[in-house]
Symmetry: D2
Subunit: 311 residues, 4 copies
């Protein structure tokens, strides 16, 4: 149907001249497949609990232009694949499981050239029985696997880890314009919700096993982030952010890049003077909105910024 | 203005005969006051983080009928009181703090005859520094204090504690009607979100200190709930519920009543036969909705059901 | 097993003397069954979109004490019933549909003595085609049906209807204590989220059809609530609440009781003086928390307060 | 401090050789400033209700590396600017207001080279009085303004517009692998939540006023999206997506690019055969998760894809 058969289908000149639009970047898949994998080791049970989202892209022009589904693997089949693979491969870690899926879709479907698998993991702790668990913690562990048939990209992370330093945070010496009213302070609460992603420089290949021990890397990064936050005498949240990212890169050789998004969860010292009380950095109002939002990427010397951001 | 002056203002006969309506139960106050209290013990800091909601009731007819605010303490003043009291009294526990507030409003405002204080508490754990914290756990601790000038009611609780038994749960022998299709099972996952409230029989009086150690009671109840859940070979979630409530009452003499609301967070065994795989209680789909919802009150012998429920 | 066979099973004296607890109020069922019913009238389609929650109670001691499910209708069967009834009866209105379900469970299950059906309804508007719809509005329509084999209780309602008067609201003349700092005002924004429930005095019986036209009653109540809110020169949100409830009762003879829960969504006039600007009731900060919360019941003369509330 | 003064501060070689990391892309600002602007035209009031998020970037190395705030405009000042500008300029439209802010920050702060303003707008409809409003609809209107001192980028949009076609949707002829079980269908419900962003090719400049009438463009795009959805006989959601994007580009000359993210909100035909009922495309289960997610960009011939996406 195209005047120029040698042009890729998405090139504007390959479209009938009456069509004023063409298809740009696109992907599709089944999002938020909730899978729980139980492994029984005698009376001791292990649980892996994931939320798996799949997005595939490739030769998808036809289905967009004409509705022809010939090249379209159903999202329902992607869902089934998640459960079948949970049985066939088990879930050693979210990263490894995502790599199984990504490799499968890219290699088994001719029309699919790239797979992006996003996974959230919910952690469980044991209670008193070996088959009994309680959901742990506020943070959600994440990973995002991208594979195009040749190159792997693994970006792991966490969201929702709320932290607070009740002192050792100052904020002064800032620029002042006609709209600036904030008083300087030598002692304030610094509270934030750590949302972090980190990219592995050489994610490795599942089969040959140069891949890192994903679970222990996660624990290490989490530890380093918390320690850096706690241990930084902060003059600015940006400084804390940079220290946290640097601590991770210095501590984990496989990581090349860290992206942090840190809302400044403001705790305002309440003015108690109207009630003849002196508030000696004791009583705070924890505000919802607005909040400062500090976002930044920290890179290993020589590495490139690749973690996707929506500026 | 009323034909019968001796009747209470809310009695229908005390209203002008042309008014076809009268005021029923009512309350008002400031909801969700977020207060963070830091206590410095040298370099060691302690944090209490509460969400305090106040509801007062009493002689409120006038403000409803005519808009006269003469008897109305502003909700803004209630908010200020929360922060002032956080300074003046500190926050030893949510229960004690709520009792300070309840007593204050009922005794200081002539028009107020009853105060209900609801509090959610967010728990923080220490990181590496003595002034550094990370928010702990999924569950939110709660308390609800009611005071009418004479009697105290203290109902503490928790919400959002997600638990799972990966085995030791059966479900069979149930009633079958024409709409019943569920197969019986001898082995299923039992997962729920524990939402619990427990009422203290004799909450005691803050001044005289027969009041329980609220923090240690909370820890004890949480432990008993988890142990009962984990240790019950369950034939029905109702059975588990009753066992959990009983365990708490047996274990904590001050508690007279436990109300549990337990959604059955269904984990469906995925049919992998179409893929020539045998799912040996390994791979589950964790469903969102619908969910079973089992709610019940367990009472100490001789006690009355007083925890408010909306049937 | 009980020393006194003639006592109801839940009576403490009917339990083995070693059991220190007994079962109080309880219910169970399947919550949040999402059902969409399409009716085709030629090319014109009609849609009803409900979220149905079922709670049943009756002779449930056994399942709690021993785990015997003999009297237990599975919640899965309740779910199936929702879909089967959507086919068999259609969904004329949420109220009628709920009454079908309630009657069914109470009459068909010997152990069930009371059914409470809660329904949320999502409204759709038409787009350009007769089979095309867009979800309308913020508010969710609700109903709650209770039936015990003899008496019906129908409490309909709405949640999430956000309204604002940008003037015609004053707040002054209020009580002042040592924690009061709020300045009086003759002109403020009054914004709230209307959460309303109204109880029908004589819900009627589905078969004999003295039942109201539920859909038109809903539309009428919604209109009256909005008009009352808009048209009230407010001296206090309590006054507005009472006027809104009264307007509904006066306007709809079948309604005996209205319960309103109105958060005061504070809009604070921003102090622009530091920037040499005069804020002439023009620029406001819309706060999240805390918020005033005004709750009250308005009753028809002679009626009783029956809408469940958790004080 | 850098060995090479001519290198940009963020270049690795300008850092002390002992530092293994450097700062990558970064931005900061005040997020979610809730501003309500009332304009009184006699008794007729107008309301604009926005949620404004500001992110600035530029020469921010120092604050990250050393914590020096010399170049840092406080996020608190950004917040103040929102309210001051709401007074000074009014809020003609979200786009125009965002452009005022973006220009201000880039031109007034030497260290700031780029501003990105994101705005959500909540729409209000009138009730019976000229100062009374009710919040309209589910969808939230959005805009995102970017300015770097020379070039403007305006990407407007909407989120949360839920739509449904109850017929005129087929899905067959798709690829089948070993995990495919989905039956083909000639008649299904197609429901989705429209999340759309569209980029203006020449956003224009606020002063010279070649800028589009933002409000009428929004209404036009919304109309075109709904019509395209309703009027497309859909063989695949991708086809519907492409048709919707094309309709907008064809209908609004200023728009060069449309990005759509459409979850397939599955409505499953319930199997009523176990109850001897025939489900004739009448009764559906509306599922939560998982859901298909179809995302794609539609481009005007000759335009580039610039709307940020996180693949």
């Amino acid at each position: 149907m195209s005047p120029s058969d040698s042009l890729p289908p998405s090139h504007p000149d390959s479209l009938p001249p009456s069509r004023p639009t063409y298809l740009g970047p696109n992907q599709y898949g089944k999002a938020e497949n909730r899978v729980v994998r139980i492994t029984r080791e005698g009376a001791t049970h292990h649980v892996k609990d994931l939320n798996v989202s799949i997005a595939l892209s490739g030769d998808m022009d036809e289905v967009h232009y004409s509705g022809s589904n010939v090249n379209v693997l159903t999202t329902d089949a992607m869902k089934n694949t998640v459960y079948a693979f949970a049985k066939e491969y088990g879930i050693a870690s979210a990263e490894r499981f995502g790599m199984h899926l990504a490799r499968h879709f890219v290699s088994s479907q001719e029309s699919i050239r790239r797979a992006r698998i996003r996974i959230e993991e919910y952690t469980w702790e044991r209670i008193t029985e070996q088959h009994s668990f309680v959901r742990k913690g506020q943070e959600t562990r994440t990973t995002e696997i991208s594979y195009d048939g040749e190159t792997w990209q693994v970006i792991s992370g966490l969201t929702g880890l709320v932290v607070m330093n009740s002192t050792d945070s100052e904020f002064w010496g800032f620029a002042k314009d006609k709209y600036t009213t904030l008083p300087e302070t030598q002692d304030r609460i610094l509270a934030t919700e750590v949302n972090a992603r980190w990219r592995f420089g050489r994610p490795g290949d599942d089969g040959a096993d140069p891949a890192p021990d994903w679970d222990s890397r996660y624990a290490e990064v989490r530890r380093l982030l918390l320690e850096a936050f706690a241990g930084t005498y902060s003059l600015s949240l940006q400084q804390t952010l940079y220290t946290m990212g640097t601590r991770v890169i210095e501590g984990v050789p496989e990581i090349d890049e860290v992206r942090l998004s840190l809302p400044n969860k403001h705790h305002f010292l309440v003015d108690l003077a109207p009630f003849d009380l002196k508030n000696d950095n004791e009583v705070y109002f924890a505000a919802d909105r607005p909040y400062g939002l500090i976002e930044g990427t920290v890179l290993r010397d020589g590495a490139q910024a690749r973690i996707p951001i929506t500026d």
